[in-house]
Structure formats: C-alpha cells, structure tokens
C-alpha cells in the first residue's frame, strides 16, 4: 500500500441553493443567518481523495480549510465523509487566492503530500485560481478541470473538460489537481460517521505562523447588485411564439 498523503481543500461558502443578496451599503453580501456549506467542488475533490485511499493508492487524507473559525463545521463534515484529520488555517480577514495558495504551499512543505486536490472554483468568489497558483508556486504539474483521474504509481493520467471537448494529459507526482463536476458523485454523510468524526483531530494554525502575513492584494472597493433582467410575458400558443420571433427578426 502506498504511503502517500493527499491534501484537499475545503472552503466554507454560502450554500449553492441560497439566493445571494448584496448588502445595501455595498460592503459585501448578506451572510447573517445564511446556510453555509462546503464548496461543492471541494466535496468532489474530497470524494476523489477518499476513493484513492480506499483503492489503496493513498494512506492519509488531510482536509484543509482556510478562513474563519466557523470553518470548523465544514472540516467536521469532511472528517465525517472520511478524511483522516483536519487543518484549520485561521486568517484575520477573508484571504485572496494568492494568499490561500501561499498557505497551501506552506502546508505542502510541512506535510509533503503526493497530491493536492482542490475544487476548480469556489462558488462564492468564482475566481478559479488557487490550484494553478499553488502549482506555479511549487513548480509542479497541474491538471485542472479533471473529470477522470487514473493514478498509477508516481504518475497520473488525467482527463480534463475543456471548451472544445476533452483533453488527456499525463502528469508526474507531486502534482495539483483541480476537479470538475463530473469527476464523481460525493457520498452522503451517515450519522455514525458524524459521531466518529468527533474524535478525529483538527489542528488550528494561524496563517502568520505559516509565514503568510499578507492576505489581500486587491482593494475591494464595493460589491453591487447587477441590473436585473426584466422578465417578459408568456405566449398562449406556438403560433404566437413564432409570430414574436418573426417580429424580432429571429426567423
């Protein structure tokens, strides 16, 4: 059995079912009383790591969350899904992707994982940067938007979703993967697993202790609501629809 460690990212975000509202003073979005969850892509990343471990291709899965102390909750969920231990990196403010990548790079140096598996984007800031940044900082291989991962010893064959179809690349470990929606379907957490997860360790470290002082680089001036689309009207029949399309010059 391989003794490889896999590190996965678990970001705390507003649940994907919530209709996000911008605060009236433009300082951000409403989070009070709003349901928070693991970023859906990160669940897929974790699921992949767990499957690799179950297949005997990895020995340990470490879930890492960077953010507020409440991200403990998401780490607990990750542990209940099957991660072996958690690391919570606390930050005084919401870190931007470059800072998160530097934090992961510092943890990488400590833990020496063979693979870091992250979501292709977080559904809050939709930036899609951390995996590629981390690979750049570490100067290792990256495979983004993975929809299939075949790990064989020290290398992996990764199928990627791209704009024009599918691409396959081969990478040598250590490497950073970012995962796409169709890689797998994450498992549901069962009650006994939640109980078991309570005994698993979560280590808390401050970003500064990892040598990452600077958390933001861009100044966020304001957050605003985009202009809403005005809905139109319903038509009563297919004839009417064709009439409308003709009037608008589409047919």
């Amino acid at each position: 059995m391989s003794d490889m460690k896999i590190m996965v990212g678990v970001k705390r975000v507003i649940d994907y079912n919530v209709r996000v509202q911008v605060k009236s003073d433009g300082s951000g979005v409403v989070t009070d009383g709003v349901k928070m969850s693991i970023n859906p892509f990160d669940e897929i990343a974790l699921e992949e790591a767990l499957r690799l471990k179950e297949a005997g291709k990895a020995a340990e899965v470490i879930a890492v969350s960077v953010g507020p102390s409440q991200a403990q909750e998401q780490l607990r969920t990750a542990l209940a899904m099957g991660a072996d231990r958690g690391i919570l990196v606390t930050t005084a403010e919401q870190p931007q992707p470059l800072a998160v990548a530097k934090i992961f790079a510092a943890l990488y140096a400590k833990e020496q994982p063979g693979l870091v598996i992250l979501g292709k984007q977080a559904i809050d800031d939709d930036a899609g940067q951390v995996p590629q940044m981390l690979a750049g900082l570490l100067d290792v291989a990256q495979a983004t938007n993975a929809s299939k991962v075949e790990l064989e010893g020290e290398s992996a064959r990764v199928t990627r979703e791209i704009d024009t179809g599918i691409e396959v690349i081969e990478i040598r470990l250590p490497a950073v993967l970012s995962v796409d929606l169709r890689l797998n379907e994450p498992r549901y957490v069962k009650l006994p697993d939640i109980m078991k997860a309570k005994k698993k360790p979560i280590e808390t470290i401050d970003a500064q202790a990892l040598g990452v002082e600077r958390l933001t680089f861009l100044r966020v001036i304001k957050t605003s609501t985009p202009p809403a689309r005005q809905g139109g009207h319903k038509v009563g029949s297919v004839e009417e629809l064709v009439q409308e399309l003709k009037q608008r010059g589409f047919v």
């Binding site: 507003i14 209709r19 996000v20 911008v22 979005v29 470059l98 559904i123 809050d124 939709d126 930036a127 940067q129 951390v130 995996p131 590629q132 940044m133 690979a135 750049g136 900082l137 290792v140 291989a141 990256q142 983004t144 938007n145 979703e161 704009d163 024009t164 179809g165 691409e167 396959v168 690349i169 081969e170 490497a175 796409d180 929606l181 169709r182 680089f217 861009l218 100044r219 966020v220 001036i221 304001k222 957050t223 605003s224 609501t225 985009p226 689309r229 809905g231 139109g232 009207h233 319903k234 038509v235 297919v238 004839e239 629809l241 409308e244 399309l245 003709k246 608008r248 589409f250 047919v251």
Partner: protein
C-alpha cells in the same frame, strides 16, 4: 500609459474567438501599446494573420518552440512570465486555456490575478462577477504591479478584423518541464455554429430525457441556424457532451437569442445567459423559475411544442 499583452490563444480552428474580445477590453485601457502573443510550434498558422488583423493591435509577437504545440500551462505560463517585464497588463480570454495558464503566471509574478473582467473603470479598477453573477465586485489592483487578468468574453464584442499589425516572429528558448505530457484531445467536429460565439443558441435540459431525444434539440437548432447548448443536468446524464454546458461552471454566453427547453432555470444555469438578448423558455411547469427572466415563455410539453414549432417555422 498602459502597455498591454494579450495572450493570443490558438486552437484547431485558428485564433480563439475570445482573443478579439480580450483585445476590446484591452482597448478600454487606452494603451500606448497593445501586443498579442502567439506561442506556436509552427509559425505558418492562420491564426497569427488573424491576430494581426484585429483592430487596435500594435504588434503580434510570435514565439516559436516545439513545446508550444500544445497549450500546457506549465510551458506557456513560463513563457508569459518571461515576457511580462515589458507590460503593465497581461490579459487572456477566460477560456479553459486562459484560466489554466494565467493564475500560474500571476503566482510566479507574485501578483493577485483578477478573474473575469466585465468592465474597465480605469487602468487599475475593474468590475468582476461573483456568486454566479449575482453580485458584482469592484476591485483595484495595487500601483506598481503588473495587472494579470482574464476577460469575461460575454461582456465584450469582438473588435473587427480591419487592422494590419506588424508580426514579429522569433524562436524562443524554453526548457519544458518533464512533469507534464500531452496525450490527446477529443474535439467534436461538426458544421454547427460554435456555442461561444453563436448569435442563436437552443439548449436542452434534463426533461429531454435521453441522448437520442437530444437530437430533437439539435434539429431545432439546425432549423434556426443556432448552436446547441445544455444544462448541467443534461450533461451529467450523458444526453449532451460537456463542452455544451451553459452556466456558472460551463460556458458563459451572450447570444441574441437563447431558447431554453425543459430547463428549470437554476441560478447556476442563469449565470451563463445573463447577457443574452432575447430569452425564450419552453417548459411544462408554469411556475419554473426560468419564466421569471424569460422574455418569451411558452408553457407546454416540449415533445408536443417542438414538432409544432418546426412545422410553423418558415
């Protein structure tokens, strides 16, 4: 004054359509120089000439090395890092290639990337969408650092091909890393318009029910001269290939006409069509959220509506 380098992405169909849009975004910076960088293994590519015709482009820099045959982020990223010194801004269209390469470049340059610019307010202040486009965040990049950014192509019209820029080609020295190897690419070939640039798009959702049935959507698209799109549910179920997914995590498009058939209108799907001109929804559930934003809604069963529609189309 801004000096902008735009990544000149090339593919099997020549210059990527996003490049002309990224150039439009670059023009908003009122740059003193606007160069397009094409990294190629073979300098006879048609896409290079196309880049030179883009209005507003000062120079097309062609850099040649065998390792540039495929757009591997580690290889192309290193080349961009080396070219960065002469520029105040480095832009790429937010394609899967641009999004793969640029953050790597930003990290190596020690700067925070700006993803998906949708509006340029000034040389350093930009709007970008967050939360599936339900919020817009205005950010300012720090002085004295190169701005590395991707451009949300749905927010920009392509510049016309009326220019005649200088093309400067030379070999480039890179030592390609041994950790990554390209194996293969499988692209759909077809005569249909490209989803990213099509003026009309017809999309099918979960309700279509099978990949055989998806042909109904494709046939209607053909009748309208439209590209074909799909919801995530339709792609997950295998009715349509992944490159047809429209939405927050698929393609973000801005056609003049978007026809959503058997698609409920989840936030994540709507994120992909916010900039569409006219949205038509066909859905048998009168309460489906898609009707809230559709310009024209038709309540009905798609399997009845589409054959009728085809009969009535001129």
């Amino acid at each position: 004054m801004a000096r902008v380098l735009v990544f000149g992405e090339l593919g099997s169909k020549g210059l990527n359509s996003g490049v002309a849009k990224a150039v439009r975004c670059a023009m908003d910076l009122q740059p003193a120089a606007l160069d397009v960088l094409c990294l190629v293994a073979d300098e006879s590519q048609e896409g290079i000439k196309q880049a030179a015709r883009l209005q507003g482009v000062t120079k097309v820099l062609v850099r040649i090395h065998d390792a540039f045959a495929e757009p591997l982020a580690a290889v192309m990223g290193n080349a961009l890092v080396e070219m960065a010194g002469d520029y105040t801004h480095i832009l790429a269209a937010n394609t899967t290639v641009g999004r793969d390469i640029l953050p790597r470049v930003a990290a190596r340059l020690g700067v925070q990337q700006i993803s998906d610019i949708m509006r340029v307010e000034s040389e350093r202040v930009f709007d970008r969408p967050t939360y599936a486009g339900n919020a817009i965040t205005t950010v300012e990049a720090p002085e004295g650092m190169v701005v590395v950014a991707t451009v949300r192509t749905a927010s920009y019209r392509a510049v016309p091909e009326e220019g005649d820029a200088v093309v400067e080609a030379q070999p480039f020295n890179v030592s390609p890393p041994s950790h990554t190897r390209f194996v293969e690419r499988r692209e759909a070939k077809g005569e249909r318009p490209d989803l990213q640039t099509a003026r009309k798009v017809v999309s099918g959702g979960r309700a279509v029910g099978s990949s055989e049935n998806f042909q109904i959507i494709a046939n209607l698209a053909d009748r309208l001269g439209a590209a074909v799109g799909a919801s995530r549910a339709a792609v997950d179920a295998g009715y349509a290939p992944n490159e047809l997914q429209v939405g927050q995590t698929g393609k973000i498009i801005a056609p003049d006409l978007y026809v959503a058939i058997g698609i409920s209108g989840a936030i994540q799907h709507l994120a992909g069509i916010k900039d569409a001109g006219t949205i038509v929804a066909i859905n048998k559930d009168g309460e489906a959220p898609i009707f809230e934003i559709a310009d024209l809604g038709l309540e009905g069963d798609l399997f009845k509506v589409i054959p009728e529609l085809e009969k009535l189309l001129p």
